[in-house]
């Protein structure tokens, strides 16, 4: 009896010992400082892309050793929450929404002196503090269009106003061409809705989200409801195929590249796929901004999306050093423009001359908007105090799917207000 109990205790002690062995503390001593880095993969951001980007920094700082973690899907923010809950919060993360983490003290707040290299050092601030490096600007969306399918429908130029967009969609549909390519989920469906909301909501009130937080506006208000009605209308007229909601992000991109639809509202990162010799489509692709009712220029964009550092990282200094070096390394910035079509928001940076034609066209559209002072936030892609409350973004994506599948607009808008109240 005693022998059995003793054996049991010894086994438990051995298991505990083995568990303890698996966590290596490198905070002390002179060896390399190990940090964990949470990444995510897309057709543009391949494992090779991340490995090369990490290596550029570790070559510069051999005292830092990086253990790469990969989010199992596109929703890296939820994965980061799961890691936090299980005591495995990464030391460094990229493109994770800081909302919630920052308020709970899980993230390191960058000082102004650390952000001097960035063009918009206050972007994405939460209660005045910046937790995510404001590394790059993304226009969300640009409408990419298949010039060959446009020609087949007798369209010689892209639409300049929303009525012209509807007219183009009608002509495309009449020729048996699906006007818009969409998918399910935030990144595959969100940009289309963000385009409408930019012209119908943010163009009138760039502080709409701050006002929603303050309770001054609601999703049931006329402007938002009108935008929601436009999305619903596109689906009911057959310009958006509700069956496409079963596509994931990669499948949606591939569908456009395969010529399965004429227009694809997507973030400017899609330019990388158009410029890459591996994924470049056989047809010519043009770009235009989501048109407003009267044709006035409105371009939704988001600056942020960079690296975040855990406030409790064992090797905090190494994590900070890695994050800043990763974000400011010229090689990494060049690679982010060519591989992911990003516009680095770093002072003095100019994209390499080798960037592709699609990247250059998107960059030009963005600069026209900056010159015309026509840049507004990208609805559903904002961060920090500019963004929705935690948990509401996912409901917003579901609401977009509801509009496409035919739920009444008023019911969808009301449910968003209910979800907002629950999250408050």
């Amino acid at each position: 009896m005693k022998r059995i109990l003793t054996l049991g205790l010894v086994a438990l002690a051995a298991a505990a010992g083995l568990t303890a062995c698996s966590t290596k503390d490198t905070s002390q001593g002179s060896g390399p400082k190990e940090i964990t880095f949470l990444t995510f993969e897309t057709p543009n951001l391949t494992p090779q892309y991340w490995d090369a980007a990490i290596k550029r920094v570790t070559d510069k700082y051999p005292d830092i050793k990086v253990k790469k973690l990969v989010s199992p899907d596109q929703d890296r923010t939820t994965y980061a929450k799961q890691l936090l809950t299980s005591g495995q919060f990464p030391d460094v993360m990229i493109a994770v929404s800081p909302a919630g983490f920052a308020e709970a003290g899980n993230l390191y707040a960058w000082s102004q002196s650390e952000l001097t290299e960035f063009q918009f050092p206050d972007n994405g601030a939460i209660k005045g503090k910046v937790y995510q490096l404001p590394a790059n600007t993304q226009t969300i969306p640009i409408i990419y269009y298949n010039k060959s399918l446009f020609s087949q429908a007798g369209l010689s130029s892209p639409p300049k106003t929303y009525p012209e967009l509807l007219d183009a969609a009608a002509k495309l549909k009449a020729k048996g061409i699906t006007p818009f390519v969409v998918g399910g989920g935030h990144d595959a469906l969100g940009p289309t809705f963000a385009g409408i909301l930019a012209t119908d909501v943010y163009a009138k009130n760039p502080n709409w989200m701050h006002d929603r937080r303050a309770g001054k506006v609601k999703f049931t208000d006329p402007d938002f409801a009108k935008a929601a009605g436009k999305l619903s209308d596109l689906a009911s007229k057959g310009y958006i195929n509700k069956r496409d909601l079963s596509r994931d992000y990669a499948g949606t991109q591939q569908a456009f590249l395969d010529g399965k639809g004429a227009m694809y509202a997507m973030g400017n990162w899609f330019a990388a796929a158009l410029d890459s010799p591996q994924t470049k489509p056989k047809f010519e692709v043009g770009q235009f901004d989501w048109p407003s009712d009267d044709g006035s220029l409105v371009v939704p964009a988001f600056t942020g999306g960079g690296l975040l550092v855990s406030a409790t990282a064992k090797n905090l200094d190494a994590a900070k050093k890695f994050a800043l070096a990763f974000q400011l390394d010229k090689g990494n910035l060049d690679n982010s423009t060519t591989s992911d079509g990003l516009f680095p928001a770093v002072k003095g940076y100019t994209p390499p001359a080798t960037t592709g034609a699609a990247f250059k066209a998107g960059y030009e559209l963005f600069h026209q908007a900056v010159t015309a002072n026509a840049v507004v936030p990208a609805f559903g892609f904002e961060a920090g105090d500019d963004g929705m409350l935690p948990g509401v973004v996912e409901k917003w994506v579901s609401a977009a799917a509801d509009l496409i599948t035919g739920k009444p607009v008023a019911q969808v808008c009301k449910s968003l207000d209910t979800e907002w109240d629950k999250a408050s």
Binding site: R243, K395, I404
Partner: protein
């Protein structure tokens, strides 16, 4: 251990005068069984009971790790559940899905088991074929079926080649999505039912069939009078296992539909728990959902088990 057992009854010291004699005699036996049961009970207590108790505690608070401090809120979360349309919809979705998962594999599983209850290499091979989906990971099954039922997937391409111009959006149309997921789950669990029913069928004495045949009973009569009553234990096992599997479905939803398309279509309670707890960060409220789900599963399973076991006795 043997020494311990032997030593206790032959102790030289006389026992105290008739104070708890039964307890003294029982003590070595208790220690003996505790040695076997202890590690299992310890693991169960640490990894099952303790998390349940912690969840019950969280469900009585407004716990949100990103929005401290945590306050005790009593039954507020439970009261909220009964007015939360999102939760009530997920309860309806879970109930529909569970009914499908209990009925479809049971019916088809019994039919297939009756067809496979024969000797020969072909039947042995077919038994393995039907059981393969059971051992496959839910994620693998979900990915395979997502590819098949996608709008451009094999199923719709086949339908289009057969002249169906607008095949259904199996996973994207709210009218079909839940039933598609139910069909996938049923397909995966079918093999389990087949194996359990086959085991039951092989326990039915052949003499009963011979006697019934001599009495002139046909195949339907033999099934109703012999096979069906004697398969009662197999039906009980299948029903309870499927019931529990149906109620706690999460992984298929996560991979195939992400709770969509839109809202209130395929989001089950388990999926809702994760979304509320880890996306909206409302862990206290999510815990209340989880506790209620545990109570529902426990209650329904107990009732079904009781009814089916009573049927076994009656038969």
């Amino acid at each position: 251990m043997t020494a311990d057992l032997a030593a206790a009854p032959t102790a030289t010291k006389p026992p105290p005068p008739r104070r708890h004699p039964a307890r003294r005699r029982r003590w070595p036996r208790v220690r003996h069984f505790a040695g076997f049961a202890g590690p299992g009970v310890l693991v169960y207590a640490c990894f099952v009971l303790a998390p349940i108790l912690v969840s019950v505690w969280y469900s009585l608070t407004n716990y949100n790790p990103f929005n401290p401090p945590t306050k005790f809120t009593g039954l507020h979360n439970y009261r909220l559940l009964f007015t939360d349309t999102e939760f009530l919809t997920s309860l309806r979705v879970t109930t529909v899905l569970t009914m499908m998962v209990v009925i479809v594999p049971n019916v088809f599983g019994l039919g297939i088991a009756l067809l496979l209850d024969r000797r020969g290499w072909l039947y042995n091979a077919l038994r393995s074929v039907f059981f393969i989906p059971v051992v496959l990971s839910s994620v693998v099954v979900s990915v395979i079926w997502t590819r098949l039922l996608d709008d451009d997937g094999l199923v719709n391409r086949t339908l289009r080649s057969l002249g169906v111009a607008n095949p259904p959006g199996w996973l994207s149309d709210p009218k079909y999505a839940l039933y598609s997921v139910g069909a996938i789950l049923s397909w995966q669990l079918l093999g389990l039912c087949v194996v359990v029913y086959l085991a039951g069928l092989q326990g039915v004495p052949a003499e009963l069939y011979e006697a019934a045949a001599i009495d002139g009973a046909g195949p339907v009569r033999r099934f109703r009078a012999i096979t069906w009553p004697l398969l009662a234990p197999a039906l009980t096992i299948n029903t309870v296992v499927l019931l529990i599997s149906g109620f706690k479905v999460f992984d298929h939803i996560q991979v195939i539909t992400h709770g969509g398309p839109g809202t209130g279509t395929t989001a089950t309670i388990a999926y809702n728990v994760l979304q509320t707890g880890f996306v909206a960060n409302r862990r206290g409220y999510a815990s209340a959902m989880a506790v209620l789900m545990l109570v529902i599963i426990g209650t329904v399973s107990a009732i079904v088990l009781k009814v089916l076991q009573r049927r076994e006795v009656d038969l």
